[in-house]
């Protein structure tokens, strides 16, 4: 189906079902229960899941396929965001032109950055991309203040009168898709549970599914095969009559466009942007997402993005008071002891937890969460046909 083989089709369908049912899946706990704080089914976070998923999918097209590790991809996200918000300020509050502009501008910027950075490989390539991103950040922060709003960034203000949107005098424009506002939500109460269906989330989710589909097509295309060949043995590729340069540059631009798409969507959701979006930590985060989920796998980056965003938003909300509540049934001494032990890993300390999880994954599951899943899958399959000897050839996946 969709020009994919049956395995990829089922992967796409599973991802589609999970994304569309996310408001249920991410809210497994009743509203008033102690565990409700682990619910991730609120619009803001769900939007972030899919937007960073897009960012990571695109990053993986470059890093996962060609092996070129960019440390400056947040620059394209930021540039896409700035382009998108200007579209909304000047032209229309409809998100489509904004997102489109984000993709185009980020793609052009990636063409320039990629053209220069791809003259080198390995660590020098990474450093060049990092340098470009930090320069972009510095420019957005200071020199380009008239365009970027400097430190405070850009928001949609009451004085903004987009050309094509008919706003009442004094009305602040809100992002919409042909009249459907991104902030619109429908609440469904079932028993103790509350599920939120947010327009912005569903729009971003559909965009992510399209982006995911395109990435599957790229992975399975001759182009994708050439990119994997670049990673495997660039010399051989050149001596086989193929020019590796335009292939890597194309991959770089495509992943830059994905970043721009993510940036545009972010603006569509919260109608604001600041320079910190381009800071090097943001570039590093997408590297972590890809590695955590599984570099070069189709679904890995999405999982990695989800995991990191979940930890960032949920773990960081847990504080000592909540811990005391959990352990209240214990004797006081033990309770305080437990809270003291867990304290460094929650709230502001969530980075520590992320760091540990990251190290464990890199050491024990070099293929990321996807490899973890595959191992579990294999374990089950082995149990099923214990007495049947399995043909143990090593066909590649």
């Amino acid at each position: 189906m969709f020009g994919l083989n049956s395995k990829d089709t089922s992967l796409l369908l599973v991802v589609a079902v999970l994304t569309l049912l996310a408001p249920f899946i991410l809210n497994p706990f009743p509203e008033n229960s102690d565990l409700a704080q682990f619910n991730a089914g609120y619009p803001d976070l769900m939007q972030r899941f899919v937007i960073f998923g897009i960012f990571a999918i695109g990053f993986n097209i470059l890093f996962g396929l060609t092996g070129y590790l960019s440390f400056g991809h947040a620059a394209f996200l930021g540039v896409g965001s700035y382009a998108a918000i200007w579209m909304m300020k000047l032209l229309t509050l409809n998100v489509i032109p904004a997102i489109f502009m984000g993709i185009v501008v980020a793609g052009l910027f990636a063409l320039v950055v990629g053209f220069v950075s791809l003259r080198r490989s390995g660590i020098y390539f990474s450093i060049l991309t990092l340098a470009f991103a930090q320069m972009s950040y510095a420019l957005a922060y200071s020199v380009l203040t008239p365009i970027t709003g400097g430190e405070t960034g850009l928001q949609i203000k009451p004085i903004d009168r987009p050309l094509l949107s008919n706003l009442e005098p004094g009305e602040i424009g809100r992002a919409n898709l042909f009249g459907i506002e991104m902030g619109n939500s429908y609440l469904l109460n079932v028993g103790g549970w509350q599920f939120t269906f947010n327009a912005g989330y569903y729009i971003a989710a559909v965009v992510m599914l399209i982006a995911f589909y395109i990435s599957i097509r790229i992975f399975r295309s001759p182009f994708g095969m050439m990119l994997r060949a670049v990673k495997s043995n660039q010399n051989r590729l050149n001596y086989t009559g193929l020019n590796s340069k335009p292939y890597t540059l194309a991959a770089f631009v495509i992943s830059g466009m994905y970043a721009g798409l993510a940036g545009g969507l972010m603006v569509a959701m919260d109608t604001q942007v600041g320079p910190e979006r381009m800071f090097w930590t943001a570039s590093g985060e997408v590297v972590l997402m890809a590695i955590l989920g599984g570099v070069g796998t189709l679904i890995g980056p999405v999982l990695g993005a989800g995991m990191i965003k979940y930890m960032e938003n949920i773990l960081s909300k847990i504080n000592d008071a909540i811990l005391h509540q959990w352990f209240a049934f214990m004797p006081d001494g033990l309770e305080n002891f437990k809270v003291a032990i867990i304290h460094p890993f929650i709230g502001k300390g969530w980075h520590l937890t992320l760091g540990i999880v990251f190290m464990l994954v890199v050491i024990f599951l070099p293929g990321g969460l996807v490899e973890g899943g595959q191992r579990i899958g294999r374990l089950f399959r082995r149990k099923k046909r214990k007495d049947k000897p399995s043909p143990d050839a090593t066909p590649a996946e």
Binding site: M225, A229, K231, R236, Y239, T240, G241, L242
Partner: protein
């Protein structure tokens, strides 16, 4: 005029004269062997032909055009394919994919943005790749990770990658090193068969004299970067200079 004309090529590495005034003419549709002791400069000479190295002086003409200053992929697209001394394959890819890449390169040129087509839809190319794998007796291994192959299999895979391009000139740098005797003989038969089926010129570097004398129509002996003699296999066998420089020491 041969299809390949090397004239006055010199190449120095620091103080070492790797190639000294090399002249070589390879006639079209022949198998030309280059032999010589270790370090004679045989691989260096091939490197100068495929754009891996640029000679300090001299000229290299292929099919009437200079190859000097061209990029490796351009030289390959002119019709020169090379099997390396240490197998150069795509280790992370499957055996079949390794063959498909040159197939795409041959059909679509050095670059094409075929990002939305699907590899598995390219039935005719896949058939072509499978046929060549059949020729090198590797059809049963087409889904293997090529990094997991034995050294001899890697060589045969690399040779298949070159053959599938149907090059005008095939450069083979010790194609049978690391192969079992049976595989070596299969390789000889394969190269003979390819040769009989279509127009192809081969330039082969070998230490295995059995391979050389089974295939070569002309032999150049290289010693310390300079061609010693160039002659037919029969004459080379009887040449005392060659015995001294090379054959004597390798016929253990």
């Amino acid at each position: 005029m041969g299809i390949l004309e090397v004239k006055g090529v010199n190449k120095r590495f620091g103080g070492l004269q790797a190639l000294g005034d090399v002249n070589l003419s390879v006639a079209e549709n022949t198998v030309h062997a280059i032999i010589g002791p270790n370090g004679a400069g045989k691989s260096t000479l091939l490197n100068c032909l495929v754009g891996k190295l640029i000679p300090d002086t001299g000229s290299v003409m292929f099919d009437g055009q200079s190859v000097l200053g061209r990029k490796p992929h351009e030289i390959n697209q002119m019709g020169i394919s090379r099997v390396f001394q240490t197998p150069e394959i795509f280790g992370d890819l499957t055996v079949l994919e390794n063959i498909l890449i040159p197939c795409f390169g041959k059909r679509d040129g050095a670059f094409r943005m075929h990002a939305f087509e699907q590899v598995f839809h390219e039935k005719s190319l896949i058939e072509k790749a499978e046929a060549i794998l059949e020729d090198v007796n590797m059809a049963d291994k087409k889904d293997f990770h090529s990094a997991s192959l034995s050294r001899g299999d890697k060589r045969r895979l690399e040779m298949a990658m070159c053959l599938v391009q149907e090059p005008k000139l095939l450069l083979l740098d010790e194609p049978t090193a690391g192969m079992a005797r049976a595989d070596t003989n299969n390789t000889i038969d394969l190269l003979k068969e390819i040769k009989s089926k279509r127009d192809i010129t081969m330039c082969i570097i070998e230490h295995d004299m059995h391979v050389v004398f089974s295939l070569a129509e002309r032999i150049t002996v290289l010693a310390q970067g300079t061609p010693l003699v160039e002659d037919t296999p029969e004459n080379i066998k009887g040449n005392p200079k060659v015995q001294e420089a090379y054959l004597g020491e390798s016929q253990h």
